[in-house]
Symmetry: C2
Subunit: 394 residues, 2 copies
């Protein structure tokens, strides 16, 4: 085995989920010509809004020299200013361009934030169910992932988080709206989390930070705008991307926003820019930075998702699935009938429907359906969902 | 200080070089209107070739759905195939698409390779002078940088590398053509390095790998094509980008190529794809991947650089500078008159010329001039170079 022992161990541990995906991929090429309903991924089939294409075409026709060169490692000032203006309007907090670092997607932003602020051996509290990649992102920088359970209805359980805090805690890493549950955390919960962390931070030299991974922020269905982790707690950073709200996941364009209420936020930004460079990202892709500068008030068609959510949740409930209707993102996370999520997803796969077992998100007994795909893939899968639950419930 | 102690220590240590740059930036905005000759960076002012713009425009007009979605973490098959074909023709080795992983620039590729193959505490041998970022890239993944001196004329000193090999050595990390010297390593040297590492690897469970960071590979001036680390040694990976050969540094498009001669190369590729994902890069930017698929046989105008190299080296030599005429890249690395490179660069700055002290590359006593800028910036700086050496040599 020529590779790193750490990576070999990761690969061995993750092999069951990879096997599931590979079997799914094989199914798509099995020559039967039968459809496969792939509801396993967060790769939106909704195209970017028309404004994106218009802007991109304009930039290419413009032909100004220097469009593809290095810029400051933090990103173009014009883009950072546009993002800051949008953040200020959204949260009612005076963000400036200097509070924003453009990054290679939200994945880049989360890694940059952790690297900038965490010392080796420090702990990051995540709340199950959580995004699959967090364990890697934390361990990339010598951190230790500590998992707290969630409250009923997938809300944050602030008492459970409190119970996990130690002298080594550096971050509470949340995802609002959540992946995989689609739940939007109530502002009251975020405020209570802030109260807890404010008390705990007062006891120590460096604060505990909230890192909110928020790529689904603009995809909310039952409220005018998403609740605000920035308003819940001063020591907050938001990592996000335009992968979902502009439909650009493959372009790797996102940003890290550092609250101007952090005492010494300039140091935090300086460290983040340094890490953006030295982790090898260097800067967010130039052309996409220029494009999103003009798209901060634009999103894909939210109704495209809302309609799918409404019908999917109604149909699943009618069949007998237990679920929390998600207020945002484009996932639903029902209980796996029979209780064994891996077995249930295998059963769905037998019906040519791909979904992800909750075990992958640290929450066995549930499974994730992604509804960011074309109608026919979702509605075509409904008979399989019905057949699968009937086979178990009778 | 709210930030990580590691990052705070890095920043403190690097503060002198940052101060130099910041003073340079201030000078550009000092209101005197006098020109500043910034020869300190590797940010080419040469625009991408016209084929790039044509392809980009075509892709945007085409409007095929799905252009901006996630693809395989390794990149588009079509792009990887085009890169593999180009590598096969260049090195005479049967590269296939599966030997190529598209990355976020060469910085991304170097980090992915190290993460995939190095265990914590293992050593990476670099040769001074070396690219400034290597220390960070290695330490990102718990590696230890070990620096070997170079031979006269900035060639690799294979005996000096041999003297640095321990039981913990995992990589020899080279840059061919070199940054900051511009030197192209002779094939005989690469072959001797291969002989050494083949002998050493035979003694251990996992081989020592050569990682060749090669973004300047297509910028060579005195030979038909650059020498080949792949042909010198079987256990070789090449990290590279289109930042220099297509003039796209801000777009972060590069790749990692894994030699098909590595025993178990499929495992190496699998680990690299995994690390590309879990380091948060996820994939190389989609639009740029599609563009470079059609540009593997295209480069910027090499003569644009060759003319600058020829005149700059001739002028500097005439003034009395001691230098090795570079065979590639777009840097020259003369001896600092008087011997103190930091003081000499300060003196140049006093004449509104910015260059980088060799200390930053691990080689005090030299300084780096980058000639990837417009003619007027280089030729306008010549009087300052002449004045500075005369002030010291009399």
């Amino acid at each position: 085995m020529p590779i790193s022992k750490t990576i070999a161990a990761y690969e061995a541990k993750g092999s069951w989920i990879r096997k599931l995906f590979e079997e799914g991929l094989q199914m798509m090429r099995d020559g039967t010509g039968l459809p496969v309903y792939d509801l396993s991924i967060g790769n939106p089939e909704l195209e970017p809004p028309p404004e994106f294409k218009r802007l991109l075409r304009g930039m290419i026709e413009d032909d100004a020299p220097g469009q593809h060169r290095y810029m400051s490692n933090a990103g173009y000032l014009e883009t950072r200013q546009a993002v800051a203006d949008s953040l200020a309007a959204d949260h009612g907090i005076p963000f400036a361009a200097d509070n924003v670092i453009m990054t290679v997607g939200a994945g880049g932003a989360v890694n940059v934030a952790i690297k900038a602020l965490l010392d080796r051996g420090e702990e990051v509290i995540c709340v199950a169910p959580h995004f699959v990649e967090y364990k890697f992102y934390i361990e990339n920088h010598g951190g230790v992932m500590v998992v707290a359970p969630c409250a009923p209805g997938f809300d944050l359980d602030v008492d459970a988080i409190a119970a996990k805090i130690t002298a080594k805690t550096r971050f509470v890493l949340i995802t609002n709206p959540n992946n995989p549950t689609g739940v939007v955390y109530p502002q009251a919960t975020l405020d209570r989390l802030g109260d807890l962390l404010r008390r705990e931070s007062a006891k120590r030299e460096r604060p505990i930070f909230v890192l909110d991974d928020a790529p689904y922020r603009k995809l909310v269905y039952d409220m005018d705008k998403c609740t605000s982790s920035f308003n819940g707690y001063e020591n907050t950073l938001v990592a996000t991307s335009h992968s979902k709200d502009l439909g650009l996941p493959g372009e790797r364009i996102g940003f890290l926003a550092v609250s101007p209420r952090i005492d010494g936020w300039q140091k935090v930004v300086g460290a983040a820019v340094f890490c953006n460079r030295t982790l090898g990202y260097v800067n967010a892709p130039a052309l996409m930075q220029r494009a999103v500068a003009g798209l901060q008030t634009v999103t894909v068609d939210i109704d495209w998702y809302r309609r799918k959510r409404d019908r999917l949740c109604a149909e699943l409930k009618r069949m007998g699935y237990e679920l929390v209707v998600p207020g945002g993102a484009f996932y639903v996370f029902p209980k796996a009938p029979g209780g064994d999520d891996v077995a249930f997803c295998q059963r769905l796969k037998g019906e040519r429907v791909l979904a992800v077992p909750g075990t992958g998100f640290g929450s066995p007994g549930y499974f994730r359906i992604g509804y960011c795909v074309a109608d026919e893939k979702i509605w075509g899968a409904l008979p399989a969902f019905e057949k699968a639950i009937r086979a178990i419930r009778g």
